[in-house]
């Protein structure tokens, strides 16, 4: 494999890792606050649809982003209502959210655009354009060396949301570990009764966390339909919400490790797309194995054979103030 194709794989790794990273951090906020969320997939999907539809209707990519965030927030509100206010089963609510998104996007998409569930292709101003970082060499200019190549062809030339996603990692770390809100958020996921005793609203904190989850899922979806591709396709998230969930477990609910896990799973995705079956001489690794690897790795991590993934202690349980 030559340097150019190596750089290309790294480049698509970053592209493919971006929606995972947004969704993974989204899940991190929610689950750290004690609300399990297996509805990341649904929120991404509905956001991708709303973003593409609004961007097509208004011609503005930013209206698209707003619509995506709005749609994801609405779905987050359903999940919050079910799992915080009505103390329902958070897992079942997540399953419902996923189906709701999967059905609603196709029903609305088909009736609005008459294209069998997809939006029309987005042209120039309706999707994100790529940003060239300062001093980055234009593509096609060869021989920049390894570092120059990484800077010009891997780090440079992505849409703004990619950099936003990367910036969200230190931001999340700072919010969680260096602010009062973050401390309370983590506490509410471990021991909500203690937070309540301190006079802080458990409900308020959990809704705030679920709201942040909605915003980040909205960005993930907006990047799917306006950055990674040009328009919405039915079921376009294709299980990425679940991979993000897997990455979250893989990272043991910590922001920097989430970045690593998402890059790893993005790399696996990039490799699977580029190589199909990999012949390593002794035997051939089938593409399906590469595709299933994130899930297999997550099961191994969950099994506790390589370190142990311990979820937030109060995760999945609604908080009852008085018994």
């Amino acid at each position: 494999m030559d340097l150019a194709s190596f750089l290309q794989i790294l480049d698509s790794t970053i592209r493919l890792a971006t929606p995972l990273l947004f969704a993974c951090l989204a899940g991190l906020f929610s689950e750290r606050a004690g609300v399990f969320d297996i509805g990341l997939e649904g929120k991404m999907l509905v956001a991708a649809f709303a973003a593409a539809a609004a961007s097509y209707a208004t011609g503005s990519v930013w209206m698209g982003v707003l619509a995506g965030i709005g749609a994801a927030l609405m779905f987050a509100a359903i999940h919050g209502l079910a799992s915080i206010t009505f103390r329902g089963n958070q897992l079942i609510s997540g399953v419902a959210v996923n189906f709701l998104a999967s059905g609603l996007t196709v029903v609305l998409g088909t009736s609005w655009f008459k294209l069998g569930g997809q939006t029309p292709a987005l042209v120039d101003g309706m999707r994100f354009s790529d940003i060239t970082l300062p001093f980055a060499a234009p593509s096609g200019q060869g021989d920049l060396g390894l570092l120059g190549g990484i800077y010009s062809h891997v780090l440079s030339g992505h849409s703004i949301l990619v950099y936003v996603a990367l910036a969200c990692v230190p931001l999340t770390w700072w919010v969680l570990y260096r602010t009062r809100f973050g401390l309370r958020l983590r506490a509410v996921g471990e021991n909500p009764a203690a937070v309540d005793t301190a006079g802080v609203s458990v409900t308020g904190l959990r809704y705030a966390a679920v709201g942040i989850t909605g915003v980040l899922c909205g960005l993930a979806g907006a990047y799917m339909s306006m950055g990674l591709s040009a328009g919405f396709l039915r079921e376009m998230t294709a299980g990425r919400g679940y991979i993000a969930l897997a990455a979250l477990i893989f990272a043991k609910w910590r922001p920097w490790y989430a970045l690593m896990a998402c890059l790893l799973f993005g790399l696996l995705d990039a490799v699977a797309i580029r190589f199909q079956n990999i012949d390593i001489g002794v035997f051939v690794i089938p593409v399906q194995f590469t595709q299933a690897l994130p899930y297999i790795l997550t099961v191994i991590i969950l099994a506790g054979f390589v370190g142990k993934a311990i979820p937030p202690r109060a995760g999945g349980e609604a908080y009852v103030k008085e018994r």
Partner: protein
Amino acid sequence: MDKLPRWADVVLVPLICLIIAFVFCGILIAAIGQSPLHAIWIMIDGAFGSTNGLGYTLYYATNFIFTGLAVSIAFQASLFNIGGEGQATLGGLGVALSCLLIPWPHWSLALIGSLAAGAAFGAAWGFLPAWLQAKRGSHIVITTMMFNFIAYALMNYVLVNLLRPMGSMDPASARFDKAYNLPKLGDILGLVGIPFSSKNPANITFLIAIALAIGVWALLWHTRLGYALRAFGKQEKAALYAGIDPVKITIYALLLSGGISGLMAVNAVQGAAHRLVLNSVEGAGFIGIAVALMGRNHPFGIVVASVLFGFLYEGGSQLAMGTTIPREVITVLQALVILFTGALPYMVQKPLEHLFAKFGGAK
């Protein structure tokens, strides 16, 4: 103290949830400029208006009875198995291998072979998540979900690289021997003089599903294992004190659940498709969740809910053919049913309890 009379809890709550879900879907259909009443008429006419439509309804219902019972038996032990999709996929592999590799002399023997293979493969796919939950504390919802994706990748590999006939581009196995085709429901009803169309895929598996529902009922409420399952689900610590082994119960529950999911493939793969295709389950594993919730976790309720979802499925296809309403309206309805019955039970239950406390004081 039960605040609601039993009939209200069993009939009224699911019914109200269903009505709310229908109203929401009606609003959605009206919002996209179609007539909800016309839509529901097309669905009813399509699914029940002819014995052929009814056959399709029952065919889908058969799938959902299996997956619904599978979800429910794990629910009884307080385990949420969302891996029905993967377990049924593997069940399909078992059925296909049994039909392709073993020269059965008669369809009835082939059926027994398929039942055994489907259940065994499905149960095997449920075993590891159960073992991990019981021994290592890995959350079963996450592991079964991961196993769904692993099953899909595995099936993709097996179909493309191993089972695909030479020269075929389709990721599907060869067709099974015609002699293994199961008797259609129409032919069986014809024997007792009831005219019923045979052009639909409803087959003898429907009767097996009904028998299984009775079997599950008997197992849960009339055997030691069933008692242990329910005790474990209701109060883990008390069950432990009573000498019920949590590891064993978790594994038994998932083996049963996975096995029943796997049986679904007998209907879909041997009964209808006559070959193994990539997505043989078509989401039935997930509908099992809705069916189990709607049927209040009772085998009888599950059969009723399955027929309802069978109707919705067949009705949805009719909608897609007869109108411009896409069949995904049914997915929305399914989501709402799961939401209201599973995640928002207090929203319906609490106001009802108030009503009964106010007016139904005769208890």
